[in-house]
């Protein structure tokens, strides 16, 4: 178990998707998944914490979700001007949402639907599940391919301090020939209350390939320094040591970016003030 409690109050904030057209993406997210634009920002040059990937040019960031960011999981859509598509890997398996009507809308709008999985723009897949009574969060899991489940869980649970939770119904993962893909669901906070992480060891013999479209998961936490220290102590990868990012008109934000054993990027954002930074605002600069 983790030796520190810095992640006790940690919360899954968002998953970053690199997209080739915001117009096409918003048509899908608004009309099929029913997500709304919480925050849209345009930037002239790349971000210090490589939020937009290794690109230096103009880009935009669009936070979309089912509710305000301070209490709901969100998707962050990263668009780089001049880049209309990425080489997509096999890393992100699906994002599971509890929004059953999405399937009907997807089919009627001509998206590729197979069973309860919708293929959205940029080849990302969304697994649609029934609503969970009493659960406010509509995002269930972000499912990621890992090379070795035990090794991956050893990182997320033992280094970062996430907790294993029982596999929610409908999230059993099957590979080709109906083989069950071993998977583990992990979460910060109370069981099943937040958006969770599902690590899947896909039984198809393929290695984890992030190609050029690798996403990134972000968590809010009390303090990033102990998390960074734990990663260093465990000999794990650190992409960005704790870094203070100035946010005009608001309190600075401290972030650290780590990488897990399958090279998934993990961004920890410090402090309760992150709530106000993340709150949606209508008029951006």
């Amino acid at each position: 178990m983790s030796s520190f409690d810095a992640t006790k109050d940690a919360r899954a904030l968002h998953w970053v998707l690199k997209i080739g057209s915001l117009k096409q993406s918003m048509a899908f997210f608004e009309h099929v998944l029913g997500l709304r634009v919480l925050r849209h920002e345009e930037f002239e040059s790349g971000c210090e914490a490589t939020c937009n990937g290794p690109y230096g040019g103009a880009w935009s960031k669009t936070m979309i979700g089912y509710g305000p960011e301070h209490s709901n999981f969100a998707l962050e859509l990263t668009y780089n001007y001049g880049i209309e598509g990425y080489a997509f890997g096999n890393d992100l398996q699906y994002i599971a949402v509890a929004n059953p009507s999405a399937l009907v809308r997807a089919a009627s709008l001509g998206y590729n639907v197979q069973g309860n999985v919708i293929q959205g723009p940029d080849s990302y897949r969304y697994k649609v599940l029934p609503r969970v009574p009493g659960r406010a969060e509509n995002f269930l899991v972000v499912a990621l391919r890992v090379a070795n489940l035990a090794r991956a869980v050893g990182y997320w649970r033992d280094v970062l301090g996430m907790r294993e939770v029982p596999l929610p119904p409908g999230l059993e993962s099957h590979g080709p020939n109906g083989v069950v893909n071993p998977s583990t669901v992990l979460s910060f906070g109370e069981d099943g209350e937040q958006a969770m992480l599902q690590l899947v060891e896909v039984q198809d013999g393929q290695a984890v390939d992030h190609a050029l479209s690798s996403g990134r998961i972000a968590f809010a936490c009390k303090a990033v320094a102990p998390i960074h220290a734990a990663a260093v102590a465990a000999g794990e990868k650190v992409l960005t040591p704790p870094l203070r990012l100035p946010t005009p008109g608001k309190a600075d934000v401290v972030v650290t970016i780590l990488a897990d054993r399958d090279n998934y990027e993990i961004c920890f954002v410090e402090g309760t003030s992150r709530c106000s930074v993340l709150s949606p605002h209508l008029h951006h600069a």
């Binding site: 634009v37 849209h40 001049g82």
Partner: protein, 180 residues
């Protein structure tokens, strides 16, 4: 204490709510959503829109509104052919000024070309070729670098200049266009 009470004068200005009733109501009723300006994004070449075009170089004759421009913009590949080989320019030097809106040096020498075209109107016909619009004309004449001037008489090349030095261009015009 009594004294303080006695000197207290009630506030006469009415109490004003900072928020209007509407604002307060909608704040509670709906979360705030952001707006994406898709037309502004498209103007920057975003979301699959074509990249923004540089503003074309103006070849209108300066200071003489309504008069025929000394530099003629080539409309298409056929017009370029007609200018080079057609009877209208027989015996004249045909100057092809290859340029593009994004080429700063082309913009810089445009007034010089304009003046020279007017000064040598009797012996030279000057045409502007925008390579963004007429890529095939640029390819046909092996033009891959700007600014570039090609001078032809009856289809035969009599001058070729790559650069943006006004004095050199002036000398080129004088050497090529004066001896008719």
């Amino acid at each position: 204490m009594q004294c303080a009470l006695a000197t207290f004068t009630p506030r006469l200005t009415p109490f004003v709510f900072v928020l209007s009733a509407d604002e307060a109501f909608y704040d509670l009723a709906t979360p705030k959503y952001d707006v994406i300006d898709f037309s502004a994004r498209a103007a920057r070449g975003g979301d699959g829109a074509p990249p923004p075009k540089a503003e074309k170089i103006s070849h209108a004759a300066p200071g003489t509104p309504g008069s025929k421009a000394a530099v003629v913009e080539v409309a298409d590949a056929a017009a370029a052919e007609a200018a080079i080989h057609g009877p209208e320019n027989a015996g004249k030097v045909v100057v092809l000024d290859f340029s593009a809106g994004w080429c700063k040096n082309c913009k810089k020498i445009a007034p010089t070309i304009q003046q020279l075209a007017q000064a040598h109107a009797a012996s030279a016909a000057v045409y502007a070729v925008d390579i963004d619009e007429l890529a095939e004309v640029a390819v046909a004449h092996d033009v891959s670098t700007l600014p570039r001037l090609l001078l032809l008489r009856d289809g035969t090349k009599v001058g070729d200049y790559l650069g943006s030095n006004a004095e050199e261009i002036k000398a080129l015009f004088e050497a090529t266009c004066s001896n008719t």
